[in-house]
Amino acid sequence: MCNLPIRVICRANAEYMSPSGKVPFIHVGNQVVSELGPIVQFVKAKGHSLSDGLDEVQKAEMKAYMELVNNMLLTAELYLQWCDDVTVEEITHPRYGSPYPWPLNRILSYQKQWEVRRKMKAIGWAGKTLEQVLEDVDQCCQALSQRLGTQPYFFNKQPTELDALVFGHLFTILTTQLITDELSEKVKNYSNLTAFCRRIEQQYFEGHDKDSCTVSVQSSKKSSLLK
């Protein structure tokens, strides 16, 4: 969205390459910066920013919504992938372990599963059922939908970091194949959100055919790698 030249590369060990253990990360010259927050700071320090036109109140609001997305959507994605037994067995284990030979694929995916479940327990989501999680997702989408209204982007005419983050999550939810479609149905209930996703996809990613394929693969990989 900032019109900076980038090249997207998919690696099986991206999670371990990152200095903080989380993807996405960027490698610029000699520096490696990981996670959305620091990447935005880094890009801002170099003079590019999407949220320059916002005043203080709006910036605070944007931060609040980004926190909401992180707490709700991200955690729901993790829950669905790692705590729902059917999905874990059929989709997540094969996908997470696919770059590795046996027995490493089983060992690593079980290790990841324990780690995510421990985190869920720590934030209190371990006791939630799938229905409760889907309810939370619904509420989050409702809040986002209300904020978006009929505008093209969350803050009027220009896209901001919030748009990028919401697009990343919603696009992944809409395009990733799971056992059931319940999660993507929840998002599809809000037509302005789906229109928003399509608009951003058309504007920024369908310009180059190859790129859109790479990006959609990257986005679906992101959903399994994004923590």
Binding site: Y16, N30, Y100, L104, I107, L108
Partner: protein, 435 residues
């Protein structure tokens, strides 16, 4: 306490250089002159019972072995017969040790347990556990020699080790299983080994270069290896004469795992004694790693060169391809050294402590590079022959038991290429295997 009686002597075959301790000739026991003297001074009997005693001690299950030789007594005594009695004291069934170690900004507690003779045929089970402030590691190993033929043995190990390599800003954790068979064939000793290792690589610091960062992650190596050793030296540390040839090959990838390569390396050493108790020694090392398939080789499999134990005058493993100060290792290398060992000038402490020291003058050379395997062997040899790093100097060597040595050298590194880190001047080294 048990007694082993041997009525008649079977011929015992000679074994390798670990016989006779430090390579000195075995001393024959003096016997008081008596009427039994003729029979008892049978040197053959002395030598063979000494050999048998050494072999019993080598099993590692006896604390003490005493040999008693006397003329035959009793009804069925032969006129010239001898009674050879081995009186042995066994080790305890379970021995343990506990140490603390401090070094490299880390303190650790090491616990060791050993069953020297588990099922009665010198099977050894050892367990070692090290718990440190930064890393923990453990190892469990089972060793079984063939009864009557100690040279043939096999062992199974399960281990987790962690290593930190500051020259590459790399941290490696290996968890693995290995089984190994040793057997002698004529004068050589062969080892066949299968090893399966789960390797986890990580960066040691945030400032690690991106080439090292790219190698982080998990991989599984499953490899078969074969090693052949011919050793005719009289001692493994500061030998006076003899030669050593070690050839090792490893094939990974065909028994599982995701790392696939063929690795060869060899080590050759020749020693000759000159006038006045000095020894000249030459050694050559070399190796090559050929990745199979289109994946490039991993930093954990490559060779490293440089340091007080190989080409002296350079910092530890700091020769060859590097990226932002992190040394990445190379796929082919060679190294050679010529050493002259002499006793200390003016021979202080002769006959005792002074004999552990030696002065040495050395000339070391070597090269390490990555090969582009499409080029052909001629291009490879050419690459290994250009930009040779070499060094010369002198120093003092201290021998530690029969296993290790310490060196303090003054080095002049030459042929330094851009990117190598040198250590000219005084360099200290400690280790088991030196060029």
């Amino acid at each position: 306490m048990g007694t082993v009686h041997a009525r008649s002597l079977e011929p015992l075959p000679m074994a390798g250089p670990d016989f006779g301790a430090l390579g000195e000739e075995t001393e024959l026991v003096e016997v008081e002159p008596e009427t039994k003297q003729e029979i008892l001074e049978n040197k053959d009997v002395m030598r063979k019972s000494h050999e048998a005693r050494e072999r019993l001690l080598r099993l590692g299950i006896f604390r003490q072995v005493d040999v008693l030789i006397d003329t035959c007594q009793g009804d069925d005594a032969l006129p010239n017969g001898l009674d050879v009695t081995f009186e042995v004291t066994e080790l305890r069934r379970l021995t343990g040790s506990y140490n603390t170690m401090v070094g490299n900004n880390e303190g650790s507690m090491v616990l060791g347990l050993k069953f020297p003779n588990l099922f009665g045929r010198a099977e050894k089970v050892t367990f070692q556990f090290s718990y440190g402030t930064k890393e923990t590691s453990y190892g469990l190993s089972f060793f079984k020699p063939r009864p009557g033929n100690f040279e043939r043995n096999f062992s199974v190990n399960v281990y987790k080790v962690t290593g930190q390599f500051p020259w590459s800003s790399l941290r490696e954790t290996d968890r693995g299983v290995s089984t190994e068979f040793n057997f002698p064939v004529w004068k050589t000793n062969h080892t066949l080994k299968w090893e399966g290792v789960w390797r986890e690589l990580g960066c040691l610091a945030r400032t690690a270069s991106f080439s090292v960062r790219e190698e982080s992650g998990h991989s599984l190596k499953s490899s078969l290896s074969h090693a052949m050793v011919i050793d005719s030296r009289n001692s493994s540390i500061l030998p006076k004469r003899g030669a050593l040839l070690k050839i090792n090959q490893e094939l990974a990838g065909y028994t599982g795992g995701d790392v696939s390569f063929l690795k060869e390396d060899f080590e050759f050493q020749l020693n000759k004694q000159l006038l006045w108790d000095s020894v000249i020694s030459t050694s050559v090392w070399g190796g090559m790693l050929v990745p199979i398939g289109d994946k490039p080789s991993s930093i954990a499999d490559r060779f490293y060169l440089g340091g007080p134990t190989s080409v002296r005058g350079f910092s530890m493993y700091s020769i060859g391809p590097q990226s932002e100060g992190d040394y990445l290792g190379g796929e082919a290398y060679w190294a050679g050294g010529v050493h002259l060992y002499t006793p200390l000038p003016f021979r202080p402490g002769r006959g005792g402590f002074g004999d552990l020291f030696r002065t040495h003058f050395f000339l070391n050379a070597g090269n390490l590079c990555n090969l582009n395997y499409g080029d052909g062997p001629r291009a490879h040899l050419q690459r290994l022959a250009e930009c040779i790093r070499w060094s010369y100097g002198a120093g003092i060597v201290l021998r530690l038991g029969n296993i290790a040595r310490l060196e303090l050298n003054y080095c002049f590194p030459m042929g330094v290429q851009a990117g190598d880190r040198i250590c000219d001047g005084v360099q200290f080294g400690a280790g088991i295997r030196f060029l």
